[in-house]
Structures are given as C-alpha cells and as structure tokens.
Amino acid sequence: MNKKKLEQIKEQYKPIIEEKRAKWQEEHDTPFYTRQTRLVLRNVEIIEPTSVHEYIATDGYFGFAKALTMQPQEIIDIVKESGMRGRGGAGFSTGKKWQFVHDAQSETKYIVCNADEGDPGAFMDRAILENDPYSVLESMTIAGYALGAQKGYIYCRAEYPQAVKNCKAAIIAARKNRLLGDNLFGTNFSFNIELRLGAGAFVCGEETALIASIEGKRGEPRPRPPFPAVSGLYGKPTLINNVETLSAIPMIIFEGAERWNKIGSPNNAGTKVFALAGNITNGGLIEVPMGITIKEIIYEIGGGYAEGSKVKAVQAGGPSGGCIPASMFDLPIDFDSLQSVGSILGSGGLVVMCDKVCMIDVAKFFIKFSVDESCGKCVPCRIGNIKLLNILEKITSGRGEESDLCELEKLSKTIIETSLCGLGQSSPNPVLSTLTHFREEYLDHIHNRRCGAGICRELTTYEINEKCIMCTACIKVCPVDAITGELKKPHYLSKEKCIKCNKCVPICPVDAIVRV
C-alpha cells in the first residue's frame, strides 16, 4: 500500500460515498440532524463500516500518508495546535500527553485506545467503533509513528458485541491491505493492533486499571506518579486515548489543526459527541460544537419533552458528573464551564430529567453504581461510598435528619480528596451537585416526609385515578386487602392499609394506579 494506491481507491469509490452522503442528508433532514456539526461522526451511517475502500474514499489513511512525510515533533505540534482535549472525560490536553509519551525514552512503547465506555448513558464510542472503526486504527497508527510505538491495543468492553465484531474485521482487513503490519507504505515503520475485551468492570476505564486489565490482572488502579506516559503497560511508556479523541486525529493531521480549533469555545476547541437520552423527544447521538448551550441542545435539537412535564435537570458526565438545574440551561457546554458548576463533561452522556424524577433517587442510583463498580482497593471509595448510600437510603425511606446533609457533604469531600483514582475522586459528585442545586428536594424528604416526584415509595401515597376500568385485577393481587371494590364497581385504595409493595401498579391494564 502507498499513497498512489490510496488515490486510486479514492478515485474509484468516491462517487459511491458521495451518493450515500446525499441520500443520508435527504433522509435526515430534521433539526436534530441539521443542527449538528458531524466531524467525528462524519462517516457514521454513511460508509460500510468494515470496507477499507469506502473508508479510503473519505480521505481515510491520507492523514497517515501525510504523517509519514513529517517529523514526529511536527505531528505532535499539530495535535497541540488543534487544541484537542481528551474526550474520555478528563479533558487533558491531547497534544501534551502525546508529547510526554514521545519524550519518554524507551525502545518499546504502546498506544492504547480506551474503548471501555462504561458510563451508563454513553454510547458515542460504540457508535464510532461500530461504524467507523478505521478512523481509530488509522489514528493509532499515526500515534505509533509519532511517538515511537510498535504495538497498539484497543480495549473494548465486552458488552458491545457488534463493535467488537466490526473492529476485529477492520483489523483483519487493514492487515490484508498492508495498513497494519511491517514496513508500512514502504518505510521501516511497523505497527500492529490487537483487540482486547473488557470483562465487566467500569473501573477498567481508568487508565492504570485498564493497563492492569490488559496485563491480565485484577483491574485495580495504581498510584500515580509514575504516569502511564512514562511507565504504563508492562512498565513501558504508554499513550492512552479515548475513541472519540482518536477518531478525530486523522482528519486533523490531513486537513490541519484549524479544522478543529476554528470550532468550539476558547480553550475548548472542536466538537463533542453527546448521547442525549432520558425524558427527551429526540434522543440519540449528537455532535455539536463545544460551547453550545444546554438549552439549545434540549429544545432545538432534542425537541424538548413532549408529554407536558417540565424538564427539571440534565445530568452530565454519568456517575462521575453532576446535575445541572433548568435554571442554568443557558450555560455553554464545555469542559471548563461545567466544572465551574460542580458538574463534569465526562464522556458526553446527557440524561434529561423531567419533574417526575426524584433527584435524591438519581443520586442514590449513581452511588449504587459506584458502590458496585468500586474496585475495593482503597478505603475511602470502598467503604465511603456505601456509607453515602446508607445516608441516602435513610433519607429516601423517610428517616432522614437535617444533620444527614452535613454528613453527606463532609464525607463526600473526604472521599473526593483522598481516593486513589478517578472513580472515587468523582463518585460523590452526583450527591454534591444534587445537594447544591436541589436542596429543597432533600429538605422536602426530610422535613415533610414527601417525595414530590412520586418515586420514593415510603414517601408517596398510592392512588387509583379516573382511568380505572374496575376489573379487580389489583384487588386480587394486594397482599393486605388495601383495595376494596367489585367487578364493574368503583375501586377504593386505603392509604392507611397500603404497605407500598407496588404489586398493584404493574398489574393494572390501564395504568390507573399512580404514586403521588
């Protein structure tokens, strides 16, 4: 393979791609799509994922061909100039990271793609790996050339079988077409990529835990320093980048840094892919410039929430992130501004929540997640998180006291400040952000023993509403005979007798039993 062959293939397949693009644009002519700036997602749903030829026709591997004519430092400088920051969540300057790995002295180095997208509610990396796997392969190859690495690993979570399948096929095809392997493009640069599967551990998305997992050990993070850029996989300098970060690199190298840094907001260049989900009309992946406001995302792209309920908050950043109340929806979305309000951009999950969502329940959900996914190595995360959960459960079951809020804040702060890795350092964020922005809900649960959203069972009451068709299904299933009535006669639910076991709600054929 060489540049000439690339041009030949591009020549041949370009018309097919152009036709496909035109067709896609025609079929996706809604604000949800037209308001996006699809750079990273440019090939998603357009090209045949495992077709090398179609990828090349979209300027694929031209970035690599160009890189081979440049000095490693030149390539790193372009990445720096582009202003790219890690899309996995930390937002660390990608160019700086590349520089660290480049400067580390070692014969052996590794490039690792972090595709362990464990954030519940995030599926950007899945979409990229499934639909545009070559962008990641090409990017890793460019990185290998620039930083002096000969081997790359893609660590992909096992829960993405299609992504794994397409990735595997792409690697095989790349090897066949001499885009991976020895003496690429006739130079003495060789590069190989291996796919490794995760095994069901969210913490393996953390860099040092990921390294431990590739090494075949328990995915326990390691103290830093030393940083992976200096001593990573098998003790060698290792670059670890997220899928989304990597997939933009070939385009940046080929078309120049301005392709990226002309978009976005100051210090937060480029676009970001978000996974919009929850109480929203149009959900799915959206790629928008950094700095777009939350309001625009929810209402103009997402179409708001149809059922008349008010949008109360949006949760950004998954279990490491925080909730942003509706009052702050004019906030631009980027790394820095989200951090300033106690949230984090995270990997890009945006879950929209209406007023039928209890924010304490949300905090509880995320803490439960962290409790389950904690590796167990360090004390604050292993034992601290479950104590946070204890207090939240106390509040949601109606036994909360105001002093609990103080304890939540103090304990959260200690866990954040003393945990070994990013999981513990961010797991209390949902608690702290809901405490800051939705304190009144906490107080309502504590002082009034009331859950306004109707979620926390002990703090709600069950009611049969006017939809009831008097079929006696609920009467038959109630274990304490709290519902009285007969076939075709009005049903009555006694609030005093009700033990809130919830057996009646799913049984009702017309969803007439509600919690208030």
Partner: protein, 158 residues
C-alpha cells in the same frame, strides 16, 4: 470444548495473551468458570490458583454457575433507569420468584444482576431475554414475552 482443546487455547494465550483472556475463553466455552478452568490457567501461566481465582472474581463477566437457558438482562443504564428499569426488574423478580442474580429452579430463566448500560440509550428502557432485545419496553411487554417463552418451553417437554 474438549479439555485438550481448552488447554491448547490457554497455551496460545500464555504467549502474548493474559490470564484474563484465558478466563474469557473458559467462560465462552463452558458458560461458567469451573475448577478445571482455574487449574489449567494456573498451571499454564505458572501462577497460583488463588491468583487466577482472584482475577476471575473481580470481573462481573465471569459466572461460577451456568446461567439459565434464557438469561434476562435488564439494562440499568441511566436513561433506562430514568424510564423505569428498576420497576421492570422488580416485576420480573416477582413473576419468576427469584432475586436478581439468581436462576429459576427449572433452569429456564436466570436474571442478571446489574446489567450495565448496553449503549442504546435512545431506545430505553431495554430488556434482553436470551438473544432477543425488547426496546422501549414496559413491564407488561416484558412479562408477556417471558410468559410466551414459558408456554413455548412447556409445549416442548415430552
């Protein structure tokens, strides 16, 4: 997979692979991690059985008992949760008489505990029964599917 084939597969992993990869082969081949798997991996990699067992118990992908014929996964990602996944899992528990993480006595259904986000949040909530994906599902739709399978299986019995 025969014992011989498994040993050979693990030996291939030793050069360049890892203990974790070897365990993944065992989980795939046998449906769970058994004593033979731990022993083989420990012997081939020259590590102690305790070490291999420690690795296996860390990752939730590995089970130590065979799953049911139809493994039920209720996605507990954020979007699915917000759209009622917790209620769905409780309803399934009630329907089958088992707790999440358990298996029905006839071995027909197992209910996975804490299925992590499957990455399809725009069609939440999602329940996967065996190979079948139920998207934008409800308690009723899910229970109906389970009952359907129960009926099918009853017919199958001689």
């Amino acid at each position: 997979m025969t014992k011989q084939a498994f040993i050979k597969a693990v030996e291939r992993e030793r050069d360049g692979g890892s203990v974790l990869c070897a365990l993944q082969i065992a989980q795939e081949a046998y449906g769970y991690i058994n004593e033979f798997a731990i022993q083989t991996v420990a012997d081939v990699f020259s590590v102690s059985q305790s070490h291999v067992y420690g690795v296996a118990t860390f990752y939730h992908q590995f089970t130590f008992a065979k799953r049911g014929k139809y493994n039920i996964q209720v996605c507990m990602g954020t979007a699915c949760y917000v759209l009622g996944a917790e209620e769905i899992i409780r309803a399934i528990e009630d329907e089958l008489g088992i707790k999440a993480g358990g298996k029905t006595e006839d071995g027909l259904f197992s209910l996975e505990h804490n299925t992590r986000c499957v990455g399809d949040c725009s069609i939440a909530p999602i329940v996967i029964i065996g190979d079948k994906w139920l998207a934008k599902t409800t308690i009723r739709k899910t229970l109906n599917e389970i009952r359907k399978i129960k009926r099918q299986e009853e017919v199958r019995l001689p």
